[in-house]
Symmetry: C2
Amino acid sequence: MDKKIKPCDCENCEFREVVFATLDEESIRELCNFKEEKSYSKGEIINHEGEAITDFKYLKRGLVKLFRSSANGEEQVITITRPFEFVSNLSIFSEEKYKYSVAALEDSIVCSVNLEFVKKLLTRNSGFAVNLMTRISRINDKIITQTLDIRQRNLAGRVAFVLLYFTREIFNSRVFDLPVSRKEIADFIGMSSANVIRTLSNFKRDGIIRVYGKTIEIADIDKLEIISKRG
Amino acid sequence: MDKKIKPCDCENCEFREVVFATLDEESIRELCNFKEEKSYSKGEIINHEGEAITDFKYLKRGLVKLFRSSANGEEQVITITRPFEFVSNLSIFSEEKYKYSVAALEDSIVCSVNLEFVKKLLTRNSGFAVNLMTRISRINDKIITQTLDIRQRNLAGRVAFVLLYFTREIFNSRVFDLPVSRKEIADFIGMSSANVIRTLSNFKRDGIIRVYGKTIEIADIDKLEIISKRG
DNA sequence: CGCGGCTTTGATGTTCATCAAGTAAAGTGG
DNA sequence: CCACTTTACTTGATGAACATCAAAGCCGCG
């Protein structure tokens, strides 16, 4: 694991506005002393399901997947997300141990702050508490809505949905490199990887997408939209 | 809608310990002035998807389902829950409008407090904020975990899972009256109502459950457990 | 260049939704 | 309280959707 401790720059961190907006300068400086910035390369595990939660973590840069593993080694991907939409692990205020794992899908940077210190800040500054509460609620809401949206759809609709998710929410571009394997898509939308591939092939055949290895180009976003809506 | 405004008794309300534990006596009395206690009879809608959120609501007594409706009139049941596990509607701090509806499955009592007042309390008392945050996180966690648990299972496993959920979490009894229709179970676990019924019939045939109209008796909880695990 | 993992495609079988038709139950109006 | 209507439940038959299996191709990496 590639751990780097950086000099304090929290005052100017772009993340500050997101949750730490209401903290005064002194709290921010204090926060910096407790802060560790760590880099994870693609594929590395950031949080392990079952391990004790000791830190409040947030994604500063990169892309991660949230997932859990069942007894027989199967994975369920809960969501895939970018910085600022993702604050720490969900169960941070409700559980002692991580209920889900987090892994880097691209090289990522994570900031860690001792959890006890964050709790102290929370009791000291209720604006911060309300802010964080809103943030956590929004993430949870998003995950629940996404899960329901996926559950509603059939196979083709699910694949269309996830492609639209990547193009709109994750990459903000019609062309992107798939950050996950076909298997991971399957684990995300609850179907077999063979059928994910088959569906992608059909989309390719119908001129809806173009595929160059890991690179995907959305050729006909309207048609994809229709499939996502109908499915 | 059967609305009753009751005299103030918040000081001694059993719910107080759950989220309002850290409030001082004065805040509690103030809370009481803002509070409305409403009764809903079985089947009534407590919150309507899409309506503005103006109140912080919590279930004091009864049983409710959380659900959303799709364009073509189909319902997805998100969870079914009892008091104290359920604080208000999920999106209360993250959205302007309800994202999900809530309906009473049994006659229920709901306390409403003006949301702005609760937000004022939150900024005045950070212990309350942390407490509430923990509570909301836990509910969200539970919903996400439950959804994943259901998604993992096949048809029989899902029905077994939901029966175990009723017997353990909701009724705490081996015998109970089903609070929902077969259709609602289907909408909860994502399958057709015909197959829910078929699976229940199979369980009955195999001596796993006994059915007397709406009343269900779990005859062989171990076998049900095995089906739930394996499925 | 050769090995192992990811991907692709086709063939096959299982699981599940859908349809239909009938029965029971529960509400409704006289 | 009974006849009527409607809604929920039940069961079987059918077909569609999807998982699984297997074999082959591709690609990156030592």
